[in-house]
């Protein structure tokens, strides 16, 4: 997505949709390649994937209504905490 904004002169929101569609194709190839190695757990993918689909519908609907700065800050903290768990 940063590539779309910087290189192709996309607007931030316009890049979001285009980037998601590209990710769908890339993730499909990636899952296929990893599937050949036997790394993919389809049940676990469904278990997190289905709730995530619900989350993204809700998130997209809320995007125009919630303060972006607070949300960005909150998720930044979550990522740092998660990275710490991973390293330790």
């Amino acid at each position: 997505m940063p590539l779309l904004v910087l290189w192709f002169g996309y607007g931030e929101r316009e890049a979001t949709g285009t980037s998601l569609a590209a990710i769908a194709v890339i993730a499909l190839f990636g899952a296929g390649a990893h599937g050949l190695y036997g790394n993919v757990d389809p049940v676990a993918a469904l278990l997190v994937g289905v709730p995530a689909v619900g989350g993204v519908v809700l998130g997209t609907a809320l995007q125009q209504r919630v303060p972006e700065r607070a949300v960005a800050g909150g998720f930044a903290c979550l990522l740092v905490a998660s990275a710490a768990v991973l390293v330790l």
Partner: protein
């Protein structure tokens, strides 16, 4: 699998989807640790599994964004169809390097996204059109 882990996996799925819809960052960076922590996947297994989960999220997300006129499908397909070379290289590399290296590399990616989000959370990180009131800073 314990009930608490099941609930945890579902919650992290919702949170990851919310993050994706709200700030465009989410999906894998949250699903992978969720799969490791709650569903006992290895780092490699979690990264591979999250890709499959992300397909559905990305398709639905792009479809919703399309309603706001935020999707250029042809550009997206061109980028996506150019990806297999990188995907194959990445998959081979991920299977070749150790779990610990994967963990550390993934943590670095998470911190990079956290840094980008933190910049947006600061007043000076706002787009220029919204920055007018904060020139004094």
């Amino acid at each position: 699998m314990e009930l608490a882990d099941l609930v945890g996996a579902i919650v992290i799925g919702i949170v990851a989807g919310l993050a994706g819809g709200l700030v465009g960052v989410g999906g894998g960076v949250l699903l992978v640790p969720g799969l490791v922590i709650f569903l006992d996947e290895s780092q490699l297994g979690a990264e591979a599994t999250s890709l499959l989960a992300i397909v559905g999220v990305a398709v639905v997300g792009a479809w919703r964004q399309n309603r706001y006129g935020n999707l250029r499908l042809r550009d997206a397909l061109v980028i996506g169809l150019l990806s297999p070379l990188g995907v194959v290289a990445g998959t081979v590399a991920a299977n070749a390097i150790g779990e610990r290296v994967l963990e550390l590399a993934f943590a670095a990616v998470q911190l990079y996204f956290a840094w980008r989000l933190a910049k947006r959370a600061r007043p000076t990180g706002a787009p220029p059109s919204r920055r007018k009131g904060s020139l004094a800073q």
